[in-house]
Subunit: 215 residues, 2 copies
Amino acid sequence: MRAMDEREISPAVIDRLPRYFRYLGVLKEDGVEKISSQELSSLMNVTASQIRQDLNNFGGFGQQGYGYNVEYLHEEIGKILGLDKQHNLIVMGAGKLGQALINYMMYRNRGFLFKGAFDTDASLWGRTVGDIRVFPPEKLEEFIRDNHIDIAVLTLPKTEAQATAERLAAAGIRAIWNFAHVDLKVPGNVLVENVHLQDSLLKLSYKIHSYERDN
Amino acid sequence: MRAMDEREISPAVIDRLPRYFRYLGVLKEDGVEKISSQELSSLMNVTASQIRQDLNNFGGFGQQGYGYNVEYLHEEIGKILGLDKQHNLIVMGAGKLGQALINYMMYRNRGFLFKGAFDTDASLWGRTVGDIRVFPPEKLEEFIRDNHIDIAVLTLPKTEAQATAERLAAAGIRAIWNFAHVDLKVPGNVLVENVHLQDSLLKLSYKIHSYERDN
DNA sequence: TAGATTGTTAATCGATTAACAATC
DNA sequence: TAGATTGTTAATCGATTAACAATC
């Protein structure tokens, strides 16, 4: 029934967690009360076996002969993802992408609070994006400390990204959501999640040409 | 020396191709002429064996006793990724994210040409983002045909995403770069690459809490 | 030629799927 | 209780790493 000990969770499982969370959220909104691994599997296009294996990495959330309670499972996966905690974010680089992320993510994600943005461009200082103020970089360390910032969103040119990442690490940031077109080198206690948009577009390009070669 | 037959390339390999391309681009810019799998491996934090295996899915690009010519390998991986071809793009949804993507991606990626944007908001029609014009949705099919659009960037609310994807598929689009917070159902000949920003942020959140549990 | 390093086969490791006993 | 479906172990499949012969 339970299985949560100190085993390492595989990256493949972690990759799938947000997707489970997303589907369960939709089911919950639709008023679905219970779901079996078989039903969820046909919905998500994965095997029922994989769903049960994945979930059992974190504990037994289901009930034999019944299935899973949608609301409960959604809640529990939310906790596994850390959504019961609050996160305070800053955005490094208040250019087009930084501004868009503030606007795009701010209201969608309860629990992730954008607290400020930083940019070297003095003409942006004091201005607001959404209702987030842009500050000069020299205020960074103080701001991180005073506002308990744990996540920095990095939307800087690749030339500035590495130096800024190091400065963020030194200032005690916990995690970097990296949109810069480089792989960051940071101390092991700073966690990095990359969104390499160029890489993603290149993959799509590959698929197009690979498909054309084969058909 | 060669190995390119009709074997299926694994998704894991495809995932790594853009990263190889990126590192080789930097090496090339830095004037590095040749590199061995061993040198590249320590740079990229992967095994030399994996690099050689990955590359040999597509052919023998190296030379025994020498290594790989950086410029040549960069060029060849570029071709594998389809970067020798031109792609014409439209953006569906000219909101903050759509606008940011146009500005962010437009000048960085030769070969990917943004041709137009579409939005239901009449106040945007005729306006430009970067130098890209925003059109009303009723012009979509005609525009795709006339401009040989092959990729659509989808930055719409999830409620509209699926219907729009179907319309794009019917209009003959080849691929969708999907930023909407849903998994699209499209015919098998339409290729989809997802950028699920919320999922990515949730993964980062998981890592933070998992790290805190373990330390 | 000798040294270096690829291309490729074989061995290992990890992740997915299948099967089924446990149990609600 | 009988039926259903989980939790979990075992079997399979695929991906990564190691090893080495081929060869520049």
